[in-house]
């Protein structure tokens, strides 16, 4: 019996040693994964894309009931304010009709002036509508996952817009999935211009709800309430997508911009397919990109 007890004691010691060793091994493995990720970013990108594509069906299955529940709650909330909402919308409709008349007149005038000056417009933008199947929001990331990918014609770097304005750009791309990086993410840098003065600036996110505006050169300055639109310098971004509104522009150095897009209730977004005419093969003018109006 004594021998057997000794054996069991020894065995348990060995087991403990292995367990301790296992922890060290696991920690080492985690560090190794991190180092590999740091060294070989392409590999990590590919792994991300594969993981996204794999998780997409499950995410979609989760997203639908969640969206339905959210919509039901929103519906209930709207019932309460239906009357005031209706009155407000009627008023807004009247105002917008006036604007529509003005826009039609301006469009006609613009067309005629363009004909006169032989102005080449950039390619027409087309849209790919997508459902948001996942939030990529943690303490350090602001983004979302879409259920469209390369197969639907999405390309990396394309702009993602909501009805209100720019939401972000496509950062990663799978066959049937894509990751959007919101404009509020800390890694987002967006070339923009101030609509009123046409001055160029860079709009940077910092993971908060507001964005920081850095002016390249400021002559006329920036005021509260100025609208910020894309300048089209970022490659595949069209010119003039509304991004946000200046909410803080004191004498201090930091100018804060509030995005138009409401990130807390995104369900559908549109990916703007702009200028990749080589792939789409539409009847766009041959001067792709070169004849595009850039900035001013």
């Amino acid at each position: 019996m004594a021998i057997r007890d000794d054996f069991e004691v020894a065995a348990s010691q060995v087991r403990q040693a292995v367990q301790r060793f296992a922890l060290a091994l696991l920690v080492l493995a985690a560090f190794a994964v991190m180092l590999i990720g740091k060294a070989d970013t392409v590999l990590v990108e590919n792994a991300r894309v594969v993981a996204l594509d794999l998780a997409n069906p499950a995410l979609e299955a989760i997203a639908r009931p969640v969206a339905a529940a959210n919509r039901a709650i929103a519906d209930l909330r709207e019932f309460a304010t239906l009357r005031e909402e209706n009155a407000r919308l009627r008023e807004e409709n009247a105002r917008l009709l006036a604007w529509q008349t003005a826009a039609r007149r301006l469009e006609n005038e613009n067309d005629r002036l363009r004909e006169l000056s032989r102005f080449h417009e950039g390619p027409e933008a087309s849209f790919i509508t997508s459902r948001i199947v996942g939030d990529s929001v943690s303490a350090y990331v602001r983004g979302a996952l879409l259920n469209v990918g390369r197969r639907a014609g999405v390309a990396s770097g394309q702009a993602v817009v909501t009805a209100e304005g720019l939401a972000g750009r496509v950062a990663e791309l799978g066959e049937n999935s894509a990751r959007v990086l919101f404009v509020t993410d800390v890694n987002s840098r967006l070339p923009v211009q101030i609509e009123r003065t046409r001055e160029r600036a860079i709009l940077a996110g910092d993971n908060s709800t507001l964005m920081r505006l850095t002016l390249a050169q400021t002559v006329q300055g920036v005021q509260r309430g100025d609208r910020i639109v894309t300048s089209g310098h970022g490659g595949s971004f069209p010119v003039g997508i509304p991004v946000g509104e200046v909410v803080q522009a004191g004498d201090g150095s930091s100018v804060k911009v509030r995005p138009f897009a409401d990130f807390s209730r995104l369900e559908f977004v549109r990916v703007v397919d702009y200028g990749v005419t080589g792939l789409v093969g539409s009847g766009a003018p041959p001067a792709t990109g070169a004849g595009r109006p850039s900035g001013r």
Partner: protein, 190 residues
């Protein structure tokens, strides 16, 4: 009592796989677009809670390599350019090790002590993730959102934790190995 029936085997496998499946579900749920102010905040920490709770109850069903895989998956899915992949895995593995090595302070004690243990370990987890993310992206990350997440999670633990702990008491063999007797299930002392 027969222990090799089909149902018994199903039950056995179900119990074996349960923690891993719940953890996988939580990892996926992290990405669910819930949009509910406070609940969305705790989502990224739910996997850590599952790791803590199951390491308390049944660490052998949540082996280290599985945690490694789940952590890497979570990092891959949560994404963000330049964010380190594997930092969640490191956190999970460390939580499991800490729980397993301190079982006697955490198992069979008043709930308050479990809560305190959870607060301490999750704090460590949050700090590790924050530190490594800041180190990797080489930016001074604002710890505010992470701290807010942590606080909400600490408050939410008494609601979610016991729910996961429900898987525990129905398993007759779920006692620490050292205090487990030689009796087989169904055996009575004569």
């Amino acid at each position: 009592m027969r222990t090799d029936g089909v149902l018994a085997r199903l039950d056995h496998w179900g119990r074996m796989l349960m923690p891993g499946v719940v953890l996988l579900f939580f990892v996926l749920l992290t990405l669910a677009p819930l949009r509910v102010p406070y609940i969305s905040d705790i989502l990224p920490l739910l996997p850590a809670l599952a790791v803590f709770q199951f390491s308390l109850a049944t660490p052998e069903r949540l082996p280290g390599p599985l945690l490694l895989v789940m952590g890497v998956l979570l990092d891959l899915l949560l994404g963000g350019p330049g964010a380190p992949v594997g930092v969640s895995a490191l956190g999970f593995v460390l939580i499991r090790a800490a729980v397993v090595n301190n079982r006697r302070y955490l198992v069979g004690v008043p709930f308050l002590f479990q809560w305190i243990g959870f607060c301490l370990l999750t704090m460590g987890y949050v700090i590790i993730v924050w530190a490594f993310t800041a180190l990797f992206t080489w930016t001074s990350l604002d710890p505010g959102p992470a701290l807010a997440q942590y606080l909400v999670m600490v408050v939410a633990y008494p609601l979610v934790g016991p729910l996961l702990a429900r898987v525990r008491p129905r398993d007759p063999l779920n006692v620490p190995e050292s205090s487990r007797g030689t009796a087989q299930p169904g055996e009575t002392t004569s």
